[in-house]
């Protein structure tokens, strides 16, 4: 019970943050009635989804300081579990989604064990290697649709069990609920024992070890927790009704997840949300605006990449770091 109370306790944030979060929450709740077009709705769903991914990444990447560039593996496992069980055995989403999470956590646990013998750069590159291997396997495995991917059966009537709705509003509220679960969880996590241990590890591994923290075990735990992003993968499967290795497992997806968290501010509660709020609309609007014009492919990613370079060179703590810097100067 105590833990549950902690999750809803935002008292150690500043007044401005509390007010901002409340206004933002009211906005999210009312958003479908604000009369936004379908395109904006899609952008909002993407924003919530990527915030969720970013928060997952944040446990290991932000608080733990271990740059994980293979988060799409978990997303892919979640998506494939939901899609395959639905196509093969007609298992409802509400059963297959937890299965996907379980598989992703198990998988992270399994590869986390050898992975966390490595530190820093070595770890980051090894996560890319594992995710490329997994993607190659799925892209060639005929049983799971190989590179063609899987199409989910479309139902005639909206079906809550299989998460099929006619309107995006339902999907929006579903992902919003997940988003809040993630926020409350992260709010608890950052003050949990593991949260403090991870920050200690990030600052100074040797010091953490000398205090009796089992570094590798902590990292594996955090890595497995971050595997909960699989829930977003499951959502992608039922929302898009089509998945293939590129859409749910690609390295680009892993990079995007890590970048959003990093750009917003890794290791803070708001960081991934700010990052997603910044990059998802940028990505979408630039994509639809430039994608329509021939010969401008890639310009959106160039702007993206420049942002990353500037942020990592001048303020590695991201947008949230910049905000905090200003606040400290002001007070």
């Amino acid at each position: 019970m105590e833990k549950l109370k902690d999750a809803f306790d935002f008292r150690d944030f500043s007044r401005a943050e509390q007010v901002g979060f409340t206004i933002f929450s009211i906005f999210l709740l009312l958003f479908p009635w604000l009369g936004a077009g379908s395109f904006v709705k899609v952008v909002m769903i993407q924003f919530l989804l990527f915030s969720l991914f970013g928060m997952g990444w944040n446990t290991i990447g932000g608080y733990g300081g271990q740059v994980d560039l293979g988060k799409a593996q978990c997303v892919g496992i979640g998506a494939y579990t939901v899609a395959l069980t639905m196509v093969w055995w007609k298992i409802p989403f509400w059963v297959s989604m937890p299965m996907g999470i379980l598989l992703a956590v198990g998988y992270s646990f399994m590869i986390g064990y050898p992975l966390f013998r490595l530190k820093g750069h070595y770890f980051a590159i090894a996560t890319i290697a594992t995710s490329l291997v997994l993607q190659d396997i799925f892209a060639n495995w005929k049983l799971v649709g190989a590179a063609k991917g899987i199409e989910l059966p479309i139902h005639d009537h909206p079906d809550f069990l299989y998460m099929q709705f006619k309107s995006d509003t339902y999907y929006y509220y579903f992902i919003m609920v997940l988003f809040y679960v993630a926020i409350f969880y992260m709010n608890w996590f950052r003050r949990s024992k593991l949260g403090y241990q991870l920050r200690m590890i990030k600052d100074d591994e040797d010091a953490a070890e000398s205090l009796g923290i089992d570094i590798r075990w902590c990292k594996i735990k955090a890595y497995s927790i971050s595997a909960f992003v699989a829930v977003g993968g499951g959502f992608m499967a039922v929302y898009n009704l089509y998945i293939d290795p590129v859409s749910v497992m690609d390295l680009d997806l892993s990079i995007k997840i890590a970048l959003m968290a990093m750009l917003g501010g890794a290791g803070s509660l708001w960081g991934p949300i700010i990052g997603a709020a910044f990059l998802v609309p940028l990505d979408r609007f630039l994509g639809s605006w430039l994608g329509g014009q021939k010969g401008l492919i890639g310009l959106d990613f160039m702007i993206y990449a420049m942002l990353i370079m500037v942020v990592s060179a001048y303020q590695p703590r991201g947008i949230w770091g910049i905000i905090e810097q200003f606040r400290r100067k002001g007070s």
């Binding site: 590159i125 290697a129 594992t130 190659d136 492919i297 001048y314």
Partner: protein
């Protein structure tokens, strides 16, 4: 393709891989930075050769100096405009910084040249092959392997016999001690990036003779280079040479075994998966690599 045939082809590819990985390893050794953009440097080397040979209508082999020069300039420009600033930040920022550079160069290429797969059609060696006994070699691959070997030997000579090369090695062994001896770290870093860019530029030029040129090719080769560097040992020049050969052989020989067994997973698509797996296993069980001393 018989086993011996695959072995010989693998050695030729391996020489090229070694050259690609060499620059990455020098940069890593000197300044402990992993350059994710290395594969994109290769891609730019390839485009340089492609465009100069096409527009000036000269043989692709003659464009190698241009590719090398572009690589050197790219390396130096990256160092002075980005990497120098990244060095002040934490390791995570360095990682993301070179990552950003990688994305930037990739999508710049996509923006400028489109997503088409291009291949050089005209050239002295293109389409010609040499048969020695039962073995047939493409001249382009033979040239790539031999010239890579020369380039590698040249850099090796430079590192071990010239004053600058020795200073570079001193910096990679102990930066502080080297700077007390009057070796300017900043200058050494820039030289490391210049050599890194130059060698990979040449490798790109050689590769463009027989490989498709497209904007996203970088990630494949940067992963191969990582595998070579990890296998040979981070910071070890000798190591990266043998590791390159090993990866080249592995990548060619594996599909030969694979074709004997009918399975989804042993086809030629998986030749690079095997490389990544090898990388993963080596780096987990022997992080210092086969010849490495940095851990």
């Amino acid at each position: 393709m018989t086993l011996i045939d695959a072995l010989l082809q693998g050695i030729l590819m391996g020489l090229l891989f070694a050259l690609v990985a060499l620059g990455l390893n020098i940069i890593f050794g000197v300044m402990n930075i992993v350059n994710f953009a290395h594969g994109e440097f290769l891609m730019i080397g390839m485009y340089t050769t492609y465009w100069t040979s096409l527009l000036l209508d000269i043989d692709p082999l003659l464009t190698l100096p241009v590719a090398a020069l572009v690589g050197v300039l790219l390396g130096i420009a990256s160092y002075y405009s980005l990497i120098r600033y990244l060095l002040r930040g934490p390791a995570i920022a360095q990682l993301f910084g070179t990552f950003g550079l990688m994305l930037f160069l990739r999508y710049l290429a996509q923006f400028l040249f489109g997503i088409d797969y291009r291949i050089i059609q005209k050239g002295l060696l293109i389409g010609k092959s040499l048969s020695i006994g039962p073995f047939i070699f493409d001249w382009t691959k033979l040239a790539a392997g031999i010239l890579s070997l020369f380039a590698f030997a040249f850099v090796y000579y430079f590192l071990n016999k010239t004053k600058t090369g020795k200073a570079l090695q001193a910096t990679s062994i102990n930066k502080e001690a080297a700077s007390y001896m009057g070796i300017k770290t900043d200058k050494m870093n820039a030289i490391a990036w210049a050599i890194g860019g130059g060698t990979v530029g040449i490798a790109g030029g050689l590769l463009a003779n027989f490989y498709y040129v497209y904007p996203t090719i970088g990630i494949l080769f940067v992963m191969i280079a990582f595998a070579c560097v990890a296998l040979g040992g981070f910071g070890s020049i000798k190591g990266v040479f043998f590791a390159g050969l090993l990866v080249g052989i592995l990548e060619m020989v594996f599909p030969v075994f694979g074709s004997l067994v009918n399975s989804d997973f042993l086809g030629p698509h998986f030749k690079f998966t095997i490389v990544y797996l090898t990388y993963f296993i080596i780096v987990v069980f022997r992080p210092q690599g086969l010849f490495g001393w940095k851990n």
